[in-house]
């Protein structure tokens, strides 16, 4: 088993437990053991754009120190938001030793962060560590016939310097879904923002965006939307319009687990769709 240091983030322990359980099971099937950081704190959620407010970078950098304390130089996230925030903070301190030394001086209760911890997202791990072909060879329940729309959202691909792939024409999500046997529904809204935290104060704005995203996926033949962010997942599910297409939404980790024959913890709508579509599903049920 390959040991991969793992930063869960808050949502994986609450709203997105199913994503975590499914991803852990799926990665175990791929020979990767997720080793949760023994201590960790919130990534910071929204990356701070204030260059001079170093306090906002203390939280993310503290997590990077935890990775360093494990004797490791990389850490995996499942959440796109944690991925963006941790990765950007790592770059922020790498870009300016003065900032890093001030943050280190403030955190006198920790070892100094030396830099160099790489933050990975599940998609990047599947591409760079597991490999598409290797992934495809491990599939036992191919998602044949499922037309899945890969929804990147923002923080996986933007800004460019931290994105897991090209911000305008990414392909890693598509390649992974193809490796799982799904048909990929290309749709132009795949890197549009879902509205994120406006869901708290201005849910109508989010509902409008979600309506467009879902309609675009449906118009391009999708019968399922796949996410990698608990906030996107929440918005796409909870803010779906009451009329028009209501596509099921599932996490990447859940489809991965399904295809690899692991416990997928799928939401009922998505599970029903996959059960009803894939030829392997009937056989899998009998097992």
């Amino acid at each position: 088993m390959k040991r991969i240091p793992y930063f869960p983030g808050c949502a994986m322990k609450d709203q997105a437990r199913d994503y975590e359980r499914a991803a852990q099971a799926a990665l175990a099937a791929l020979g990767c053991e997720l080793v949760e950081l023994p201590r960790w704190n919130c990534c910071g959620t929204v990356y701070s754009l204030a260059n001079d407010d170093l306090m906002r970078h203390v939280g993310p950098v503290r997590n990077l120190i935890r990775v360093q304390d494990m004797g490791e130089d990389r850490v995996l996230t499942l959440c796109a938001m944690c991925y963006g925030t941790l990765r950007r903070s790592a770059r922020f301190v790498a870009a300016d030793p003065e900032r890093l030394s001030r943050i280190n001086a403030f955190m006198s209760d920790e070892h100094d962060y030396r830099g160099g911890v790489e933050v990975l997202h599940l998609l990047g791990l599947l591409r760079d560590v597991v490999g598409y072909e290797n992934l495809a060879s491990k599939v036992v329940r191919p998602l044949t016939g499922v037309r899945a729309a890969p929804y990147y959202g923002c923080t996986l691909v933007r800004p460019r310097e931290v994105g897991v792939d090209n911000p305008d024409q990414p392909e890693v999500f598509e390649r992974v879904l193809s490796a799982l046997g799904a048909e990929v529904a290309e749709f132009p809204y795949k890197v549009e923002c879902c509205g994120a935290y406006l869901t708290v104060g201005a849910p109508a704005i989010v509902a409008g965006r979600v309506r467009d995203i879902v309609a675009s996926a449906a118009a391009n033949g999708a019968d399922l939307i796949v996410t990698s962010c608990p906030l996107c997942q929440f918005n796409l599910e909870a803010r779906r319009p009451g009329i028009g297409p209501r596509l099921p939404v599932a996490y990447l980790g859940q489809l991965l687990a399904w295809a690899l024959g692991a416990d997928a913890c799928l939401p009922p709508e998505a599970e029903a769709l996959i059960q009803g579509t894939t030829p392997a599903a009937a056989g899998a049920q009998q097992r």
């Binding site: 808050c10 609450d14 960790w40 306090m55 939280g59 403030f106 955190m107």
Partner: protein, 221 residues
């Protein structure tokens, strides 16, 4: 003898005293900021600095001995609002803590709370557990909290930690911990009048007799 500065004024006090006793030696009569004198009640929150050291230390006055040159200030009370709730109406779900204490989300993980805890609790880890809705973990991490309020006074996010911890422990005790079966049996015993005769006997005793009985009571080893 050594010199300490209490609320900005210098005093010569004997070595080996606690901060609390040194204050009394210096002539203070403590009507607030003093309770059990045993480190349990959390009333005597105190901050101090030492000469040549920039750090602001926080501790309980009854548990900390004076050092030469110590600058001492007491914080007899922490202004903090406890959320208004009926425990029976609060579901023990992750969002319960955040719903009643939304300022938890302002935590930037600076760890100042942990550094200021006289009980040496992992206070920031508890805030983080609260943020991710792990009520049981919060209750476990804060079991030894004495509610002195020092974390709340130092927190840049202005969280009133100890009120949150109390809610978490209450939720944990009320909903997440198995019920003690012997408690129900004992309550039934009390209600059936099993102890009435013994209570009547005690109520009928004079002061001296009662004192004697108290001295001779069974004490757990």
């Amino acid at each position: 003898m050594l010199t300490v500065y209490i609320m900005g004024k210098g005093y010569r006090v004997p070595e080996g005293l606690t901060i609390m006793k040194a204050m009394e030696y210096a002539g203070y009569r403590l009507v607030r900021g003093c309770g059990c004198r045993g480190g349990y009640c959390g009333a005597c929150a105190t901050v101090y600095r030492l000469p040549g050291d920039y750090r602001l230390y926080a501790d309980l006055a009854c548990q900390t001995t004076v050092q030469d040159g110590m600058y001492i200030a007491q914080l007899p009370s922490t202004p903090a609002e406890r959320a208004d709730y009926q425990l029976s109406q609060v579901a023990p779900r992750g969002e319960a803590l955040l719903a009643l204490y939304p300022e938890l989300a302002r935590c930037v993980a600076c760890n100042t709370c942990t550094r200021s805890c006289p009980q040496k609790l992992e206070v920031m880890d508890a805030v983080q557990a609260a943020l991710r809705g792990d009520i049981r973990q919060v209750a476990e991490l804060t079991f030894d909290c004495v509610q002195c309020g020092l974390c709340a006074m130092r927190c840049p996010a202005e969280i009133a930690h100890y009120h949150v911890w109390q809610l978490a422990r209450r939720l944990c005790g009320a909903y997440l911990t198995p019920r003690a079966q012997h408690l129900a049996r004992r309550v039934a015993e009390v209600e059936s009048g099993a102890f009435d005769a013994e209570l009547d006997r005690l109520m009928g005793m004079g002061k001296d007799e009662l004192a004697k009985a108290y001295q001779a009571r069974d004490i757990e080893p």
